[in-house]
């Protein structure tokens, strides 16, 4: 099974980026699956500084793309672009069947979790889950979810009294019930303990095996097989 783990890094000659796509096939047969997301020549210039240019990649079903790069390389910007939160870029992002990120169907099929947890500090875990599920249009058993994410017994405490890792877990619970196909995760492991990371990686594996796709940033080593998009390696010169 080791051979299935492909870690590939490509670098553009100019050193700014490499965009790549690697695919993993769980079985022996190579099935050409329709891509979930295709990005072509993405270029971001912020405050007259080129963050990255010419990034191209394709996310297929069951694939995990790991966006790597030093701080300030534009990893979060790339994810926000894909989510449709950040529109000041050049290049093309095509979802599912060539739809734009802002279309309703794409919004339903994607789940973006950013640096900020996106939970209400005044509300308890249970209440946060309730409104999030209602917004996502999903009815799942909140108690089961709390048990899976390891928050049982803390469900009635306002989130602001919980630790950063526990708050993160509340936010991450969405991954356990969301019907979204594509996950865009910006540093999902932040503040999580080792067991939490393991739990999340397990869940990611499950998602991939059911045909979902994940694009994530993380400085952690992933135990899940992933292709790498390397941003801004060695070009962080501020002259």
């Amino acid at each position: 099974m080791k051979g299935l783990l492909q870690h590939r890094k490509l670098r553009a000659p100019c050193g700014i980026i490499g965009g790549i796509c690697a695919s993993f096939n769980k079985g022996n047969a190579v099935i050409s699956t329709p891509s979930l997301l295709h990005a072509e020549g993405l270029t971001s210039i912020r405050s007259e500084r080129t963050l990255f240019s010419g990034v191209s990649f394709t996310l297929g079903r069951g694939e995990l793309l790991h966006v790597e790069g030093p701080n300030g390389a534009g990893k979060s910007t790339l994810l926000r672009m894909l989510a449709g939160l950040f529109s000041d870029y050049q290049g093309a992002i095509k979802w599912l069947d060539g739809q734009a990120a802002t279309s309703e169907e794409v919004r339903r099929q994607t789940l973006f979790l950013g640096h900020k947890a996106g939970i209400k500090a005044e509300l308890s875990a249970l209440e946060n889950l309730a409104w999030q599920q209602q917004l996502d249009g999903v009815q799942a058993n909140a108690w089961d979810l709390l048990e899976q994410i390891g928050l049982l017994g803390l469900e009635d405490i306002p989130a602001q009294q919980l630790s950063a890792g526990q708050q993160r877990r509340i936010a991450l619970t969405r991954l356990w019930y969301s019907p979204a196909l594509v996950w865009l995760l910006d540093e999902p492991f932040t503040a999580l303990d080792r067991q939490g990371i393991q739990l999340l990686e397990q869940r990611m594996q499950e998602h991939l095996s059911t045909g979902g796709g994940i694009i994530m940033t993380s400085h952690q080593r992933l135990s899940v097989p992933a292709a790498t998009i390397l941003l801004g390696a060695e070009v962080m010169n501020y002259d």
């Binding site: 989510a83 449709g84 939160l85 950040f86 529109s87 000041d88 309703e104 919004r107 339903r108 994607t110 973006f112 950013g114 640096h115 900020k116 947890a117 996106g118 939970i119 209400k120 500090a121 005044e122 509300l123 209440e127 409104w131 209602q134 917004l135 249009g137 306002p158």
Partner: protein, 226 residues
């Protein structure tokens, strides 16, 4: 509007109301401010009933306007900081609808209480009883305008470090037409003059802002989370 949107908007309303109830001081402070301003006026100006009745419409409306500015800054600030604002942008339901829910919550927490305590304020300032219904109607029609126009300013300034001052400068001039027509209506009512025209104008303000500002707020929110 499909059923899906409706349940999402209901979820937003419920969440925001719940959060507001957990932070009761945010709801009570503007009302307390309003009450203090109104009760200080008779002390400072002198308790002559005629003078008070003369200035009552203006004082009540100016105080209401300033009180509504108090909590305005926080309309999108918490959501911006905890990341729920970007999740709002990513909802499948149209953003203008979602921000309309936010505006509605703001009105329920600042505008509606104001309308409810207005009879008491009118009593404190010796406003003739005959003008009270008109005062209530102007507040009912005018406070949604305060929330809606204020939301545009709040969304534009949410990503600024100290947006409060800019926000006041931004929205106060926009409130002036409302102030003029609302106080004119109540004053006319005090003198027994016809008020129907002014009320119709206020109603059109209300409809115009409630239909158009959600789009402006949505655009401003998108810029702010960018």
């Amino acid at each position: 509007m499909t059923r899906g949107y409706r349940s999402q908007l209901a979820a937003l309303l419920k969440r925001d109301l719940k959060v507001a109830l957990r932070r009761r001081s945010d709801v009570i402070n503007p009302l307390l401010f309003l009450f203090m301003v109104i009760s200080l006026f008779p002390v400072a100006i002198g308790p002559g009933p005629d003078i008070l009745a003369r200035i009552a419409p203006g004082v009540i409306w100016v105080a209401a306007l300033l009180a509504s500015l108090l909590g305005l800054e926080r309309l999108f600030r918490d959501d911006y900081q905890d990341g729920t604002l970007e999740q709002l942008v990513l909802l499948p339901c149209p953003l203008p609808l979602a921000v309309l829910a936010k505006i509605l919550v703001h009105w329920l927490l600042t505008g509606l209480p104001l309308v409810l305590i207005a009879p008491l304020l009118a009593l404190l300032l010796n406003l003739p009883l005959s003008a009270l219904p008109v005062l209530l109607i102007t507040l009912l029609l005018g406070t949604p305008v305060l929330s809606a126009v204020g939301a545009v300013g709040a969304a534009l300034t949410v990503s600024l470090q100290r947006g409060g001052a800019v926000l006041s400068l931004l929205v106060l001039p926009l409130f002036i037409p409302l102030l003029i027509f609302a106080t004119a209506a109540v004053e006319s009512a005090v003198f027994g003059a016809p008020v129907f025209g002014q009320l119709l104008l206020l109603a059109s303000f209300s409809i115009l802002t409630l239909t158009l500002t959600p789009f402006a707020v949505a655009a401003a929110v998108k810029v702010s989370v960018n």
